[in-house]
């Protein structure tokens, strides 16, 4: 089975070369038969990669320690779920997952691209094949997971205990579906540059792929954030760690791309910009892969440091980013520029969005790469962390968030800001009220905190106002209103939900950062502590044994108003003997939207334990908002106009939609 997987991987590499060369020449020579090779090859390549991945996963599931990769990252006592997820909890396996998803997207284009122009389809598959070829070669040359050990060790060295969590089953696959998904947008852009033309259907094709990738990336980032929050025991949801930034940059750029693609599709303007943005978004994904996989950074994600790998990925990075940008420089002038428009209009608002988002991406990029640059050119070692990003990223995002509710309400071509402002009066009034109430009635609220709450309310109600206005609330009778609301294009709901989700996330962040409380103290069994109106009693420390760890479980009781316990929270220190590693299992209790978070420290000589407690108001909204954003993307995808595989049907409906405000 293992050799089959290895062989399939080599075959998949060979096929990716075929997929690159044959359709490309076919498109140049206008040879239908050569172009048609791309589709079946892409699908077969995906099947082979899947087979290879399945072989590795089964080696993990059966604890086959004759594979060096399995031996290094697995243990026979691990629960089955962590044996399987351990497949991608290491450098080699996660790169295999990377190419699996890459070929998956290639196969999707092959499967659903039957009504794409033949040359465009051939070129897209060729570019996708080229990316695949580079990464297959990378895996086979530097990171082969199928290397055997002889003699085979009896026992493995265990998966890093931090990764022995359900989060590993969800976070990496979602994240990769997101940032590798942007490869499709990249391939479409490069294909358009190779052909030297972009037509309106190009945008109709790129937007759904962008939406899919963006949806998964949003989920991946949100899930990663929640995982770090509960697993590391520090109670933080975002650390501005370079590795987090590596996934956040493609998200920001992808969000910009999502918006500029709308302008391109509806108004066929911003064509060249959209194309460039698609290239940049995937370039940032590649940069992220480099930062995480090359070992230039120290983090949980950098599994191993091997300089040849870093250099190899750097070469891939230079080849694809440099190549595509050079092609862009050569060919962009040949593309017909789109139409011009009035600055105050929906298009104008979307351009403003792009200006802010790309600038924000650039600041994150500078903050992430600056320490590496300083280290490369001088002896100094510096770190750029939260203080830098709070000073740059936050002031850039705040004004963008203020104008978000205006965007969807502005008309295309020429918008009426005053008219829109009138429609947003209710939302504005409520936001103002929320700000005042926060400032006056909540103890310890700073001006900034009150403004933050107001901003979140403004975003949430602004998104709902958009739906209300489009349904005609206040102008028409209720039954008509309901019919109109139901009849709205799904993409209108998509926009509203995505913006609503953004508002919820902002509310969660403001709530947690500005109104959260924290206590660190050493407690004896039986003692109680009060935090933000909640009384917690420390019951005691109890030893327990897990399948591949032993733990000291601290039990806590939440005391109700009557003085009797209303719930239990347990937080543990786990010791994994194989790696001689201790991890903290935080104890979390969700109370409505807020959470009580407890983590354990060291045991003192007198039997007391250091306990750190946090009250985190509205914290669940941070990730809940992410889920709502994903739901918005899914709704947009369900829009008839955007449905993958049916881009040109229902033309009449499109015209009707466009005429609505």
């Amino acid at each position: 089975m293992v050799e089959t997987g290895h062989f399939a991987l080599v075959l998949a590499f060979a096929l990716s070369l075929v997929q690159t060369i044959v359709p490309l020449f076919g498109a140049r020579l206008s040879n239908q038969r050569l172009m048609a090779v791309g589709g079946p090859v892409a699908v077969t390549g995906f099947a082979l990669t899947a087979l290879s991945f399945a072989a590795l996963a089964s080696a993990y599931a059966s604890s086959d320690f004759s594979l060096a990769n399995v031996w290094e990252n697995s243990h026979s006592l691990q629960p089955l779920i962590y044996k399987i997820t351990g497949t991608w909890g290491n450098h080699e396996g996660s790169m295999l997952l990377w190419v699996l998803i890459l070929t998956f997207f290639g196969a999707l284009v092959a499967a659903f691209g039957s009504n794409l122009p033949a040359t465009l389809r051939a070129n897209v598959l060729a570019v996708q094949g080229a990316i695949g070829a580079a990464f297959f070669l990378f895996i086979l040359a530097t990171s082969n997971p199928f290397i055997r050990l002889n003699p085979a060790p009896i026992e493995g060295r265990d998966l890093n205990p931090i990764l022995q969590d359900l989060g590993l089953a969800i976070h990496p696959p979602l994240l990769y579906l997101g940032y590798v998904g942007f490869s499709i947008c990249f391939s479409f852009s490069v294909a358009a540059l190779i052909e030297g033309r972009i037509d309106a259907s190009w945008a109709r094709w790129v937007r759904p792929w962008t939406l899919v990738a963006w949806m998964f990336l949003t989920g991946g980032i949100a899930m990663g954030s929640y995982w770090a929050y509960y697993e590391l025991g520090w109670g933080g949801f975002w650390f501005w760690d370079p590795v987090e930034n590596a996934s956040f940059m493609p998200w920001l750029a992808g969000t910009a791309l999502l918006h500029s693609a709308i302008v391109m599709e509806k108004r066929s303007a911003l064509k060249i910009w959209t194309l460039l943005l698609a290239i940049l978004t995937f370039s940032l994904s590649l940069l992220g892969t480099f930062l995480v996989r090359s070992g230039v950074l120290t983090s949980v994600h950098a599994f191993a440091t091997d300089p040849t790998r870093g250099v190899f990925i750097l070469c891939i990075l230079t080849l694809f980013i440099g190549g595509s940008l050079a092609l862009f420089a050569l060919r962009a002038s040949r593309l017909t520029a789109g139409g011009l428009f009035h600055p105050v209009s929906r298009e104008g608002a979307l351009v403003l969005n792009n200006l802010f988002l790309t600038t924000a991406t650039a600041t994150v990029l500078v903050g992430t790469l600056y320490p590496l640059a300083v280290e490369a050119f001088s002896a100094d070692k510096i770190s750029v962390g939260a203080p830098f990003f709070n000073l740059t990223f936050a002031p850039l995002m705040a004004p963008l968030l203020v104008v978000v509710p205006f965007g969807p309400l502005l008309a295309w071509k020429r918008g009426d800001v005053l008219g829109v402002a009138q429609r947003l009066m209710v939302a504005f009034g409520a936001a103002l009220l929320a700000t005042l109430v926060t400032a006056l009635f909540i103890d310890g609220a700073s001006v900034l905190a009150a403004l933050g709450v107001g901003l979140a309310v403004w975003l949430i109600l602004g998104a709902l106002t958009d739906l209300a206005v489009k349904a005609g609330v206040g102008n028409v009778a209720v039954p008509v209103m309901v019919r109109r609301l139901v009849g709205l294009p799904r993409s209108v709901f998509g926009t509203a939900f995505a913006h609503l989700g953004l508002g919820l996330t902002v509310l969660g962040i403001v709530g947690t950062l500005c109104f959260g409380t924290e206590k660190i103290l050493s407690m004896h069994a039986g003692e109680t502590v009060e935090i933000s109106g909640h009384t917690v009693r420390f019951v005691g420390l109890y030893p327990a044994q897990g399948p591949n760890y032993s733990e000291d479980r601290g039990r806590f009781e939440l005391i109700g108003v009557s003085g009797s316990p209303v719930g239990e929270i347990s937080s543990a220190k786990r010791f994994y003997p194989v790696r001689q590693m201790t991890t903290t299992e935080s104890g979390i209790r969700t109370i409505f939207l807020s959470q009580l978070y407890i983590s354990l420290g060291d045991e003192g000589k007198d039997g007391s334990v250091v306990v750190r407690l946090w009250w985190k108001p509205l914290v669940t909204l941070i990730w809940g908002g992410g889920l709502v954003m994903m739901a918005g993307a899914a709704m947009s995808l369900m829009d008839r106009r955007l449905r993958v595989g049916a881009p040109s049907r229902r033309r009449k409906q499109t015209v009707a939609d466009a005429s609505q405000p």
Binding site: K381, P387, F388, T392, S522, D602
Partner: protein, 147 residues
């Protein structure tokens, strides 16, 4: 305003925005980036009390003292010099004697480093990169030790 002037004002506005963002970024880099030092570097580098730095090295053997509550004192050493550090909070799971750590914070007027964050390695096999490089440069630590 004519069309041309309008377009120009949009472009000028955009550029002004970018210039402001660039300025802010460089200002923030100058102000908010924190430098990494090892104890021996501190004799040559001038670090003011209150200036935020990251201090890295090994946790010196036998120096970990738990005070009242959650305050811990320990010394960070590069085997040439050592610096006393205090920290209030929960130490990372992999914090141990003679292991690499990076602490971030400021020097108090009494010369004790008050850390507000302590990072140990994420994984048993690796040393924080800066600490490993620093120790190697001082000839104290060999690659083979980490494996």
């Amino acid at each position: 305003m004519t069309r041309k002037q309008k377009r120009l004002s949009v472009i000028v506005g955009g550029l002004a925005f970018l210039a402001a963002a660039t300025g802010l970024t460089f200002y923030a880099l100058g102000q908010k980036a924190s430098y990494f030092y090892m104890p021996a570097d501190l004799t040559t580098a001038s670090v003011q009390p209150g200036q935020r730095i990251r201090l890295g090295g090994l946790v010196e053997k036998g120096t970990i003292q738990r005070g009242q509550g959650a305050t811990v004192a320990f010394s960070v050493t590069d085997t040439h010099k050592s610096v006393k550090v205090t920290y209030t909070g929960i130490l990372p799971d992999l914090f141990r004697e003679e292991q690499g750590v990076i602490t971030e914070g400021t020097f108090g007027p009494d010369g004790v480093f008050v850390a507000d964050s302590v990072l140990a390695k994420h994984d048993e096999r690796y040393m924080p990169k800066e600490v490993a490089a620093g120790l190697k440069a001082k000839g104290v630590w060999q690659e083979s030790k980490s494996e």
